[in-house]
């Protein structure tokens, strides 16, 4: 069952678009076409609220204020006004995120997804990304259940990427973490180590090259 999202948006077209997109993305949207005063009883059981600030009836900021009295549900604020005072006020009243109109539907879905995503446990002892398993404490790495022997440097590199799976890390920050400048040389050396590491990990793009930045830990499915 998809997560429930309450959409409070007065514009017919925009509201319909948002609702359709959220439904297509696997969420269960509820659409309110006007602002209402919220209380513990009237707030439906939802996982996230998408709130337009300019509403007939009740002003969006008031809804936010009401909501925060009794609920910690994440709120994504939509506003046509690109104004610092508005943003600061919304964030102070407890909004978690805001989006300025116009936006692409993709962007909205991505933001909702980011809000509802469970925090990645990149800093735990064991990281599993796709078929790749990294055990920090035992300094062991296995792919599809088979153990892979890595050098100290290769392991450190992989462990560093595994702290934030899916996020790119710059070559220089990785070099600073895993290379000993006196023994291991510079950033260029890193690429050599990476190509050896990739060979050891075998099929699947676990270590992705990110243009202009460096590397990222992927789930190995892209290849």
């Amino acid at each position: 069952m998809g997560k429930r999202v309450l959409v409070i948006e007065d514009d017919q077209e925009l509201g319909a678009q948002i609702v359709k997109r959220l439904r297509d993305a696997g969420y269960e949207p509820t659409w309110w076409k006007e602002g209402r005063r919220l209380s513990r009883e009237t707030l439906p059981d939802v996982d996230l609220v998408v709130l337009d600030l300019m509403l007939p009836g009740t002003y969006g900021m008031d809804i936010l204020k009401d909501l925060r009295v009794f609920s910690e549900v994440p709120v994504l604020v939509l506003s046509a006004r690109n104004d610092t005072a508005d943003k600061v006020r919304a964030l102070r009243l407890g909004a978690d995120d805001y989006m300025t109109k116009p936006f692409w539907p993709e962007e909205l879905v991505e933001r909702v997804r980011a809000r509802l995503r469970r925090p990645t446990l990149g800093r735990g002892d064991v990281v599993e990304v796709g078929a790749l398993r990294i055990e920090r404490g035992r300094r062991e790495v296995s792919v599809r259940g088979e153990r892979v022997e890595l050098t100290r440097l290769e392991f450190e590199f992989l462990a560093a990427l595994a702290e934030r799976p899916g996020e790119a890390m710059t070559r220089s920050s990785l070099a600073a973490r895993v290379l000993d400048p006196e023994r291991d040389g510079t950033e260029r050396t890193l690429d050599v180590h990476v190509s050896r590491l990739r060979k050891k990990l075998g099929r699947g793009a676990f270590v992705e090259t990110v243009w202009g930045i460096g590397y990222r830990l992927g789930d190995g499915r892209d290849e």
Partner: protein, 476 residues
């Protein structure tokens, strides 16, 4: 109230009580002198008249005539005759016993006030009341007993005794003359003020273009000059306002032009798509992507125009707050990723693992970073790349780099743009090298925040934009 009336009323309000006080003082002085004369006379004469009084108390009374030359002579003054001023009633005395009763039936009843006062003093004198000229006193005789123990004397004041003011009231004339002269002298002043009023009204009706011509070094001349200075100030402010209004109109015209072009292109694309659909042709993805790009460009343009309006204000104030740069970078990349995907440009981002917060105006800074990011996407080619990299430098600086492998900007052009604050005539052009308006906003925003903005060719052949500035508070 008019100036003259005000002056007249004020003068009268001062002069009338002054004159009254003067007359009162004069009357009191005369009264005092007459009292003294009468006292001296009674005390001087009564010892002599005691015998006659005690012999026939029932008939004693009436005018008292000196039977002996009174007291020692006093300098050159005439000997005090009976207090009988010319034209006034002569002094009249009556005798009373210890219980203040007179044997003489003609004797008047002693006034209450005098009877009370004589218990504490030897001579009781009726207090002076304006405008009376009569003087009345009750004196206790040195012997203090018998039918003539007290004497009530009545007399009048005399113009020659103790007067402060001259006998004739001619002295009032200069006072009145001064008053009249003052009112007359006010005439020219009032006329000058009226002239000034007319001149000011004339000048105001000509939107302060004419000077107010009033000669003279007096206060009115000074006022006229002050008015001229104020008029010049108003005029310059009006001119400034006109200038701004014109700038606003110019801005609006440019804005309309800027928005209308992408809108027209968008309409063109939509029309093509509709016609193709009607003709049963497959969807032209290129036109579709162009249409999306135009819509995206317009959104960015409208945000930029709003930012420009803010930056063009006479005094720009930053609404600083704590800004999480990591979140900001993700928002910016998230905004442009959909269009980048359509244009076939990859956009990637990297942020450090730890928070990067700066004190900044979040709207302006976001627009600044959004502009260089969108420029990198928009002026790239299919298959191109854009990377947005946020770093911390030495724990006290942040460094944000937007790197692309697009056509870039020639170095000569870069230094020329930097000199002009990234604003050229081609600022509003849509050509690839005309990234002007957005870049200019980025430049202004960086400058206002005290951040360093550098543009250089990237190592991948495109452009690298670097923004560097201080962190909100250095961590640990």
């Amino acid at each position: 109230m008019k100036l003259r009336a005000r002056l007249a009323v004020a003068t009268i309000l001062v002069m009338v009580p002054m004159t009254f006080a003067l007359f009162w003082y004069d009357g009191a002085a005369r009264h005092r002198a007459a009292e003294q004369k009468l006292t001296e006379f009674v005390l001087g004469q009564m010892p002599t008249a005691r015998e006659a009084c005690e012999a026939a108390p029932s008939s004693f009374g009436g005018e008292l005539r000196p039977s002996l030359p009174p007291g020692p002579p006093r300098g050159a003054r005439p000997p005090p005759g009976p207090p009988r001023p010319h034209g006034a009633r002569p002094a009249v005395v009556h005798a009373y016993d210890e219980s203040l009763h007179s044997a003489n039936p003609d004797a008047p009843v002693i006034p209450e006030a005098l009877a009370r006062a004589i218990h504490e003093q030897d001579v009781a004198i009726a207090s002076y009341v304006l405008p009376t000229s009569s003087v009345e006193l009750l004196a206790r005789m040195p012997w203090g007993t018998g039918p003539c123990a007290y004497v009530l004397a009545r007399g009048t004041t005399d113009p020659t005794w103790g007067a402060v003011l001259p006998e004739s009231n001619i002295w009032l004339l200069p006072t009145v003359a001064v008053f009249a002269a003052m009112l007359l002298a006010l005439g020219p002043v009032v006329r000058r003020i009226r002239k000034l009023t007319e001149a000011v009204l004339r000048s105001a009706s000509a939107t302060y273009a004419d000077a107010v011509l009033i000669e003279g070094d007096d206060e009115i001349g000074v006022l006229a000059r002050a008015f001229n200075a104020a008029g010049r100030e108003i005029r310059s402010q009006l001119e400034e306002k006109d200038r701004r209004e014109q700038a606003l109109r110019h801005f609006l015209a440019n804005t309309t032009h800027d928005v209308m072009i992408p809108l027209t292109v968008l309409q063109g694309h939509l029309a093509t798509l509709r016609e193709d659909a009607a003709a049963g042709k497959p969807v032209d993805v290129g036109a579709l992507v162009s249409a999306m790009d135009e819509a995206h460009y317009m959104a960015s343009l409208v945000h930029n125009l709003a930012a420009t309006a803010r930056l063009e204000a006479a005094d720009v104030t930053l609404q600083r707050c704590e800004v999480d740069l990591e979140a900001l970078v993700k928002r910016v990349v998230g905004r442009h990723r959909p269009i980048a995907k359509q244009l076939g440009v990859s956009i990637e981002t990297a942020v450090p693992g730890e928070p990067v917060t700066v004190s900044a105006d979040v709207t302006l800074l976001e627009q600044a970073i959004s502009n260089v990011t969108y420029n990198a996407v928009r002026y790239n080619r299919p298959g191109g790349h854009v990377a947005v990299i946020l770093d911390r430098v030495a724990n006290e600086l942040f460094r944000l780099r937007v790197v692309d492998d697009g056509p870039g900007i020639p170095e000569a052009e870069l230094s020329r743009l930097a000199e002009r604050g990234f604003r050229g005539n081609e600022a509003r052009s849509r050509a690839p090298d005309g990234q002007g308006l957005g870049l200019h906003i980025t430049y202004r925003a960086a400058k206002l925040h005290g951040f360093r903005l550098t543009l250089r060719p990237s190592e991948y052949g495109g452009l690298e934009v670097e923004l560097e500035g201080e962190l909100d508070a250095p961590v640990g």
